[in-house]
């Protein structure tokens, strides 16, 4: 187990360095010097800000030195100062926005797993039945559904027509005057649609993979053995089958984390949720370089953390990896 963890940690370190090199390269191989791009396209940049940026990245030094200087600061969570008029530290800005994005992503991940795995198993077991056909059609629709369109439809129906749910933000007017329970209910009501939207595509995807994986497992010899031993159908499927069928799913979930994080830009923008995705959108629109780089790096760290959880999950399901 210890060597396994060491190996994983080393792999993560390599991946982290790789990601930061790619992000860094985007700055340096973008046409012109980063400061030129910024100053030409962003009238807000003052000469002081430009000088600060040059100092921060050490732009007079060779690229490799610049990268090493930058990564040293990044490890200390120093991403520099935002270009926006408030001049606050990038990390402070990210820190206020990160929790809500994390909550929404974790909640949707849990919902995806809780709904998709049972659907996948049951449609694999009842293959070619009416139920299987209906879920297959559902999966194709779910796969193809643009998240932002689903968001618009929900806003139109539940928000504009039925006035059941709030369409934007996290808090209603008068939030501060509410009781604790009132506040909790208010935030939950604001979060229902965003969480639904961000888990919708994932439910379709994961249930499809779960179905495929279960179908694969059902054909295996050990399943026939279990059946010929006279075990109950439930035991065969949920004890013998599920553990094996879950293995590829754990990998898929790990791989889908970057997509979830990337998707937060869309639903946070549509629902005006003050999270990291919205912050990223704003930083991109105003060409706030340090903030863009900071969020790219944090996004990478989140993905790595997600992958680590996926690996630990894999080890929990498959005893072979622990050796």
């Amino acid at each position: 187990m210890l060597t396994y963890l060491t190996k994983k940690t080393l792999e993560m370190l390599v991946t982290f360095i790789g990601i930061t090199i790619i992000s860094f390269a985007i700055i340096h191989f973008a046409p012109g010097k980063p400061t030129d791009v910024l100053t030409d396209l962003n009238p807000k940049i003052t000469p002081e800000a430009r000088a600060k940026l040059e100092r921060y990245y050490g732009l007079d030094k060779p690229v490799t030195t610049q990268y090493i200087l930058w990564i040293k600061r990044v490890v200390m969570l120093d991403f520099g100062e935002s270009f926006s008029s408030d001049h606050r530290a990038v990390w402070t800005k990210i820190k206020e926005r990160l929790p809500i994005t994390l909550y929404i992503n974790i909640a949707s991940l849990l919902i995806i797993l809780a709904i998709a795995i049972p659907i996948g198993i049951s449609s694999a077991v009842a293959r070619h039945s009416l139920y299987d056909k209906i879920t297959t059609v559902g999966v194709f629709v779910g796969f193809a559904m643009p998240g932002f369109w689903l968001a618009l439809l929900l806003m139109m129906f539940f928000g504009v027509h039925l006035h059941m749910l709030p369409v934007a933000g996290l808090k209603s007017a008068g939030f501060d005057a509410m009781s604790f329970q009132g506040k909790a209910v208010d935030i939950l009501r604001h979060l229902i649609m965003p969480i639904f939207v961000s888990s919708f595509g994932g439910i379709a995807g994961i249930s499809r993979y779960m179905r495929g994986s279960m179908l694969e497992v059902i054909r295996q010899d050990y399943m026939t053995t279990a059946r010929s031993k006279g075990l109950s159908q439930g035991r065969i499927i949920y004890i013998h089958g599920l553990r094996n069928a879950l293995l590829p799913i754990v990998t898929i979930v790990g791989l889908s984390i970057p997509g979830l994080i990337g998707g937060s830009v869309i639903f946070e923008q549509v629902f005006s949720i003050p999270g990291m995705g919205q912050l990223f959108y704003m930083s991109v629109m105003s060409r706030d370089y340090p903030l863009v780089m900071g969020i790219l790096t944090i996004g990478a760290v989140l993905t790595l953390a997600g992958n680590l959880f996926a690996d630990l999950g894999y080890a929990a399901v498959d005893p072979r990896t622990r050796r």
């Binding site: 790619i22 193809a144 643009p146 998240g147 932002f148 970057p258 991109v284 629109m285 863009v292 993905t303």
Partner: protein
């Protein structure tokens, strides 16, 4: 598998057929947009701003009085070209990278696959947004960026195929007779690993269409007045309370298009995958 055998299976496969028809309709809409569109897609008409669907404007008009049906027909061309060009780029890069890793194996393989893993760990949508922000959001840049951030799947397939192909007799024979690496890769191994590449390309178009529409919806993709389904939806969001048609129709077009590519891709997978033949048809 023989070609005519594949054609027979293609006819029998309902998924591929439905998907194929949808994609065909899209081509027709895109190619004949100038003939089919009742209005100039960029013509502003102050007298019919936000008109609901009616006989003159079957799908209504937008906030500048432009005909939504005409804009959507022209938007089909944008969606189609972004899908095909960006997947073309992704497929070429994916084949090159995957072929190198699978053919040379060992250290080359390890290094390349490590890089692929790194690319897979980046939240791609963030990366695309960042790059588009540094460049400008011309349609060529969008195609290039989507292509260069979505080749990893293809490269994995090609690598896996190549790893198993490179010890086959005909490859060994080609090498023994002095064929160069490039020749072995291109004329001997590649044709034998095309099926998974084609399938993932078709599925890749579906996700490229989704990414383009999301970018245009956010205002960093195809720029108005050029019509794209995503930027019509963007004005739909601004007029959500008064003009449902601006949000419903373009989204439906994206949904049906993406479903078409997915059905075609999944159908082709069934056709090419011999393991599925026993229990179907």
């Amino acid at each position: 598998m023989k070609i005519n055998e594949a054609m027979i299976r293609l006819k029998e496969n309902k998924m591929a057929a439905v998907g194929g028809i949808i994609v065909l309709c899209l081509f027709v809409a895109a190619i004949f947009a100038p003939l089919l569109a009742p209005y100039d897609p960029e013509a502003i008409n102050r007298h019919s701003v936000l008109a609901a669907p009616c006989r003159a404007h079957l799908l209504g008009t937008d906030d500048l009085g432009r005909d939504v049906l005409s804009r959507m027909l022209y938007g089909a061309g944008i969606s189609l070209s972004v899908g095909f060009v960006s997947v073309g780029i992704a497929t070429l890069v994916g084949i090159a990278v995957g072929a190198m890793a699978g053919y040379y194996g060992k250290a080359v393989d390890t290094a390349i696959m490590r890089f692929v893993d790194i690319m897979l760990s980046i939240p791609t949508f963030f990366l695309i947004l960042a790059v588009i922000a540094f460049l400008d959001s011309s349609i060529w840049n969008i195609m290039a960026v989507i292509g260069l951030t979505s080749w990893m799947g293809v490269s994995r397939f090609v690598r896996a195929e190549f790893l198993s192909l490179k010890t086959r007799e005909y490859v060994l024979a080609a090498r023994a007779s002095g064929a160069s690496d490039i020749r072995i890769i291109i004329s001997h191994m590649l044709p034998n690993s095309l099926a998974p590449v084609i399938i993932s390309a078709v599925l890749g178009i579906a996700s490229a269409v989704l990414v383009e529409s999301a970018l245009s919806f956010l205002g960093i993709g195809v720029q108005p007045p050029t019509p794209s389904w995503g930027n019509i939806l963007s004005s739909g969001k601004d007029n959500l309370e008064i003009a449902w048609w601006l949000s419903v129709f373009p989204g439906l077009a994206i949904l049906v298009t993406v479903m078409g590519y997915n059905l075609l891709g999944e159908g082709l997978r069934d056709i090419f995958d011999p393991r599925l033949w026993d229990d179907r048809s």
